[in-house]
Amino acid sequence: MLDSALEILRLQSAGEATAVEIAGAALDAIEASQPTINAFTHVDREAALSAAAAVDAKRAAGGRLGPLAGVPVAVKDVLCTRDMPTTCSSRMLKNFRPPYDAGVVERLRAADAVIVGKTNMDEFAMGASTENSAFGVTRNPWDTTRIPGGSSGGAAACVAAGTVPLSIGTDTGGSIRQPAAMCGVTGLKPTYGRVSRYGLIAFASSLDQVGPIGWSVPDVALMMQTIAGYDARDSTSLNLDISHYTEVLSSHDLRGLKIGILRESMDRDGVDDSVRQATLDAADVFQSIGAEMVEIDLPHNDYWVPTYYVIAPCEASSNLSRYDGAHYGHRTSDLSDSDKLGPLVTTYCRSRAEGFGDEVKRRIMVGTYALSEGYADQYYSQALKVRRLIKGDYDAAFSQVDLLLGPVTPTPAFPLGQKVDDPIQMYLCDLFTVGANLAGVPAISLPAGLDASGLPVAVQLQAPVLEESRLLFAGAAFQSVTDHHKRRPS
């Protein structure tokens, strides 16, 4: 099993394996895992092998190789790919092939990564369990009766299953960190604007961010180095130099670093003991390698989830208007009884009714309501005001500490089907993660142990905007003295 990108790079440069052999192994592993895990919506064996062959040829010719040369990478099916379907795990886009690559996908190709396929997700990235997919649920490799988390469930599960070393996820309210936590892998949500959103099919534009998932911090740093940076095609992209993410990892001495532990939030009802204990244990580890630990609070924590569940659906209701059956995507074939509304309105209504799943419809309706005349001030404008308060909390906290430590999820992975019919319970999975999205700060999920039944538990570090390197530095230091990230599902 090849689970480290750095190891894959070493094997190739040492002449011990070719890119084609590595891609072949990854593709075989994917094929073997699909019936149980179902992490992928699309795998293109031929395209992957020919991309790998091109890397081998380039190496043989003495050409300059990119930083991810020959590394198999999986991409969440919310990012546009020119040569593969891009479905958002929705019936609506089942047959959609974009005529262009997302900015991140371009960068991966330019880095000579071998894109093996597209990973399963909650439809349009809405969900916390990857149960809202038109292509079937993805299962957790640690326990296939359980969910892998979401919405980047496929992206986390394929890494956890050891089929690829790295994958690309997206995080609107925790969708990278939460499944990474539940699958026992490392996931980074970068600063809003640090990675291009061009070609990322929008869920909630002001919150969405693309980021890497891998087994360990050094691998995640390597991919971050590849995908971060300015893209003129995304107006919210930050036109600033990027840090040398891979160069900050060598020192494991955290002396001088002040970490705030979010004790108040983790003592809430519904937070599993294993999660609380893992956070306290992680605090001890950070202290043991030199960090100063202090207790800190983000006062508007209680408003995170309600604020998020107003803003995200409002933006989603707007972003998803384009799926109307007129220009591309699913169009109804049933125009019977259309006399009342006329064929046009009937086409819209039925195409959307047939194309979208329940959770997407629920959020479109919530967002449409919250933006409508007479309610916008009460809900949307109010949520924007609270969002500013939440940002203010982060600013105040980061004036005292360098990093924030807390849980990622309230519980380890729960059984498939447990929360499907209870949207509020499902939304509470985002309890600890949505703050980083509302404030735009970077955050990382680090494996931090196993609970009594052997399921992964994780901790989250959050940093001020643009301080991804601080997260990676502290995360690598943590992983240098712990082995949680080395555990594998049996």
């Binding site: 886009l93 005529p99 095609r233 995304d234 919210t236 208007s321 220009h327």
Partner: protein, 492 residues
Amino acid sequence: MTLSNGYPAQTVIGLEVHVQLKTETKLFCGCSTTFGAPPNTQVCPVCLGLPGALPVMNDAAIELSIRAGLAIDCSIPPMTKWDRKQYFYPDLPKGYQISQFDLPICADGFIEIPDPADPDSTRHIGILRAHLEEDAGKSMHDEAAGRSDTRIDLNRCGTPLLEIVSQPDMRSSAEAKAYLQELKLRMTHLGISDCEMQEGSLRVDANVNLHIEVDGKKIATPIVEVKNMNSFRAVERAIEHEVDRQYDLWEETGKTIDDESKTTRGWDDNAGITFLQREKEESADYRYFPDPDLLPIRLPIERVEAARANLGELPGAIRIRLAQQYGIKPYDADVIVNQGPDLIAYFESAATGSGDGKRTSSWIQQDVMRTLKDRDIGIGEFPVDADSLGKLLEKVASGELDNARARDVFAHMIETGQSVEAAITALGIESVDNSELETLCQELLDANPQVAEDFKAGKQQAVGSLIGQAKKKNPNANPQQVRETLIKLLQG
């Protein structure tokens, strides 16, 4: 308060004018804005609203909007932002239009127009705001021979529009027309828009109602918005139609603005009537909210002031200056200014060369503009440049050429593109020296003794009959000089 048709009422008109900005590329992507390309050939993922595509602001549209705002005396706020206006329509690919809601790029301006009812006075028309937005595509319905196809052309999607919203300050269709003419002139003069109504680069919606006087009190009729008129004439006619229709309806039903909300009507140009488009019950909720894909735009005062400094002279000021500087009538200055900046420059250059503004103005309005019209070309393509026309007219002013000969020379220059001198040579025009002219005149007097007798009897005009004969004998003879020479000989 009486309408022209005698009603005891006042017409109240506010106009919303969509002006297509003259940018090379669309508002949020690099696609061309050229008119008339084959359907769906000027499109990309961004203007098609494909999943994952993101808008990127075209700064040229911002610059043109600032110029437009300054040209209509608007203030330009330090910050402006983008909002989404949501509605479903097949030619709106994203399901929302990127527009501006509460922070438009231009606010609170005005235009002075000549008062159609009083030539010595002007009217002040307030401008509420002007905001930037993207255009939608075009649906083409093919209902011929039982078909019910709709084809959608998205070439126009994302084309930048500036929507200029006036205050309800106009009181007649003539004022509405004058406002539109002045607005169009400023926009075309400053290169902000072509304002070609046939191509849809200027579109007008009119909000109309009546204030009727009843027993000394004012009653307002419900407001009607007449959408998408495609000529100034249509705007005038639609307003006049609405005045009659609303007055009759009020007499019939007594309904006022308090009884009925705004309705939307279309204009049928052939029938000359407006017709109901949207029922009042379906008041649209556009669910505006700030577009999270686009950052707010800062417009520093320095940028606005730089644009103001680069704005140049506005048409109103040019009109006054041309009249004063070149001694032409205000009416003639108006005709020249209405032709646009290139013709103004042509006139100024030719008038300076000829030293005779009046003559230059009259030649340009007659000879030059007729040729432009006949050939359907602009002044930039006119074969005789301003310097050459100036030289030609200078020769007329100095008596070297008479008007008729000058027209021959001018015609030759237009045909061949030759210089004034080359054209004169080519036409065999030579100046006639004095002794030659005297000989010619003496011969004519000898042959026509009656003329000398009539002259001596006090009939100076008698020499006129000889001028024509002189021209026949020598086409180069200047009639004025012939007259002077004849008189000199007769008096001598």
